[in-house]
């Protein structure tokens, strides 16, 4: 314990001198300001409303929503849809039948647009949709964006953080001195990864508290911390291994770009847009991201296969990082 404490204390000092905590604090501040004053305003309640145009020559619907625009003819309806840039939806009542007319987007979104248009059409009939959750749209947005920014922070910023601290030690040559110190080399890896884990957990807790709110945080925090822990350990160990195997920060930057792109882009595209990627279920980070997202929405992953796979991946990465560390110690000065 004494040895681990010495290593941990030194790592803390290295991170303080490398201004890592300051960068993390500034990131937290910026993300919070962005969520409160940028994202939520921009993505307000009206942001997802599509224009709905109704052509009802027989006048079958008299009590429709005031949000519906009337069209005098079929041509006018077509013109309105052609001009609309917000994904407008047309309703054509013909022979008593309700026909939805729209420019095709993607399957799920088109269904959503059609449902929305029909709900406006029937708004005067006392129709009430079934309520399946108590999240307001704002709360949904808060949880979603907090999850996305936390994922980016750990994948990109945390990963870079461990590299910057380690490259400093590598340049100073002190890693080699540890080769002749009377303790197990795994402790060196463990101390660093543990420190980054603690930092990420603290970051995740503050991020959730500040952006999801005190009341809701209690319910989701344990699951969020578990998912953050898994992601943090994977990224810190990957960063550690890459730093040991690559020559300098330039090489690392290239590898970082590839890893960050591989990790983040397909996951975001698949999880947050309508883009379909059949292979995404084979992407390990997709499962970690969805685990984090589900944790934010109070539906933690319960599948033991997921946790067993995560533990195996962490153990494997630890072994690789420790082996790369030993190899680095044997290099020439």
């Amino acid at each position: 314990m004494k040895i681990l404490f010495s290593l941990f204390k030194k790592d803390c000092r290295m991170m303080v001198s490398g201004k890592f905590f300051l960068v993390a604090f500034v990131s937290l501040l910026l993300y919070t300001l962005f969520i409160h004053f940028g994202y939520l305003n921009f993505m307000g309640d009206n942001a997802n409303i599509y224009n709905v145009y109704l052509y009802d020559p027989a006048g079958a619907y008299t009590q429709t929503s005031p949000l519906i625009h009337s069209a005098a003819s079929e041509e006018e309806l077509d013109e309105a849809l052609a001009r609309d840039t917000s994904g407008g939806v047309g309703i054509h009542i013909k022979d008593g039948k309700t026909n939805i007319v729209l420019y095709a987007g993607t399957e799920k979104v088109d269904r959503h647009r059609a449902d929305y248009a029909l709900s406006l059409l029937h708004s005067g009939s006392g129709y009430q949709p079934e309520t399946v959750g108590d999240n307001t749209p704002e709360m949904k947005q808060r949880r979603e964006i907090t999850c996305e920014l936390l994922f980016i922070e750990i994948v990109a910023v945390g990963f870079l953080g461990i590299a910057s601290v380690l490259f400093k030690e590598k340049q100073m040559g002190v890693i080699r001195v540890h080769a002749i110190m009377p303790f197990s080399m795994s402790l060196f890896v463990f101390s660093k990864v543990f420190l980054f884990l603690l930092t990420d957990l603290a970051f995740a807790a503050l991020m959730t508290l500040l952006n999801v709110g005190l009341k809701e945080t209690g319910g989701v925090l344990p699951a969020v911390l578990i998912q953050t822990g898994i992601l943090s350990l994977i990224m810190a160990l990957t960063g550690f291994g890459c730093t040991m195997l690559l020559k300098d920060f330039k090489q690392f930057s290239l590898a970082y770009l590839v890893i960050a792109l591989f990790t983040a882009t397909p996951v975001f595209l698949s999880a947050n847009t309508a883009i379909k990627m059949d292979w995404i279920s084979c992407h390990p980070f997709y499962h970690v991201y969805m685990g984090l997202k589900n944790a934010f929405f109070g539906m933690p992953v319960t599948d033991p296969v997921y946790y067993i796979s995560a533990v195996c991946a962490i153990i494997l990465l630890f072994v690789i990082a420790a082996a790369a560390f030993c190899k680095e110690m044997g290099k020439e000065g």
């Binding site: 100073m172 080699r176 001195v177 002749i180 009377p182």
Partner: protein, 282 residues
């Protein structure tokens, strides 16, 4: 203390660094390992300190095979000075020493300030970051790191590198003091003066082979032509003559007005190294 038999090591298929080294180092001895860059000195030291694994042949330290010896206890008994002063640049000399010494049992540690004082480290810099130190000061802190745990076996790689002549003299005195305490010292260097003044025995290594091993005195004697050069004045002119050392017994065999100097023509260790290895040390 150290026994090496038929030691081989290869960095890759076609990159054999050591070709069957044989030597022993006795308890309390200062043993010099001399050779130019790339000759295999550092590789040998890395094998002995357990940094490099996968060697061939037999290596024993503290009377045990090296494969069994690289335990926590082994690392507590050795001190290593690396070729470059590897220190945390953002920490002070004292913080560096406190950090590295924290891995050893308290009872075997020396006081950090006392060791730095012995190495004539400037007191004003004790708490300043290493990044503000000169090369010589960094080397002093590195030496302090190697000595702070009172090691029984000390590995020194180019100990006087980066030091001014006064610093080099100080380091040699400290190494000698360590030997008097009973510490065994394994020095790898290409500095002939260090080897000559410090070492009880030296081994010359070239291209991964030991080409000679003996005391510096024996090596010089065996390779000397036992001649001397006499500087003298004769009829107002300064002249120099070479002669056999043993011929001095019957006096100076040529006319002179005043003897100015008599120089031994004993070869330096570097001359001998060139003789054995066919190349210079540096």
């Amino acid at each position: 203390m150290i026994e090496v038999r038929n030691l081989t090591f290869s960095y890759g298929k076609d990159k054999q660094a050591l070709h069957g080294l044989n030597f022993t180092v006795e308890d309390g001895e200062i043993f010099g390992f001399l050779g130019p860059n790339g000759s295999g000195k550092s590789t040998t030291q890395k094998i002995l300190t357990g940094i490099l694994k996968g060697h061939g042949g037999m290596v024993s330290l503290f009377g045990k095979d090296i494969k069994e010896v690289h335990t926590q206890e082994f690392f507590q008994n050795i001190g290593v000075l690396f070729e470059f002063p590897y220190l945390y640049a953002n920490l002070s000399a004292l913080d560096n020493l406190h950090y590295f010494s924290s891995f050893y049992p308290k009872e075997q540690l020396r006081d950090a300030k006392e060791v730095l004082e012995e190495l004539e480290f400037k007191k004003d810099f004790l708490k300043k970051p290493v990044s503000s130190y000169s090369k010589g000061m960094r080397q002093r802190v590195s030496m302090a790191r190697a000595l702070i745990s009172n090691p029984k076996l000390l590995f020194l790689d180019e100990p006087t590198s980066g030091l001014d002549p006064t610093g080099a003299v100080l380091f040699r005195r400290i190494i000698e003091k360590e030997r008097q305490k009973g510490t065994t010292v394994f020095v790898t260097t290409h500095n002939m003066l260090d080897a000559d003044l410090l070492c009880d025995r030296v081994a010359f290594i070239s291209n991964g082979n030991i080409v000679a091993l003996d005391t510096p005195r024996n090596l010089k004697e065996q390779n000397s032509n036992h001649s001397i050069a006499v500087d003298y004045l004769y009829q107002g002119r300064r002249e120099e003559q070479m002669m056999e050392a043993r011929s001095l017994k019957s006096g100076i065999p040529f006319p002179y007005d005043e003897l100015l100097a008599i120089h031994s023509q004993e070869p330096t260790l570097e001359d001998i190294f060139i003789q054995y290895a066919g190349r210079r040390l540096s």
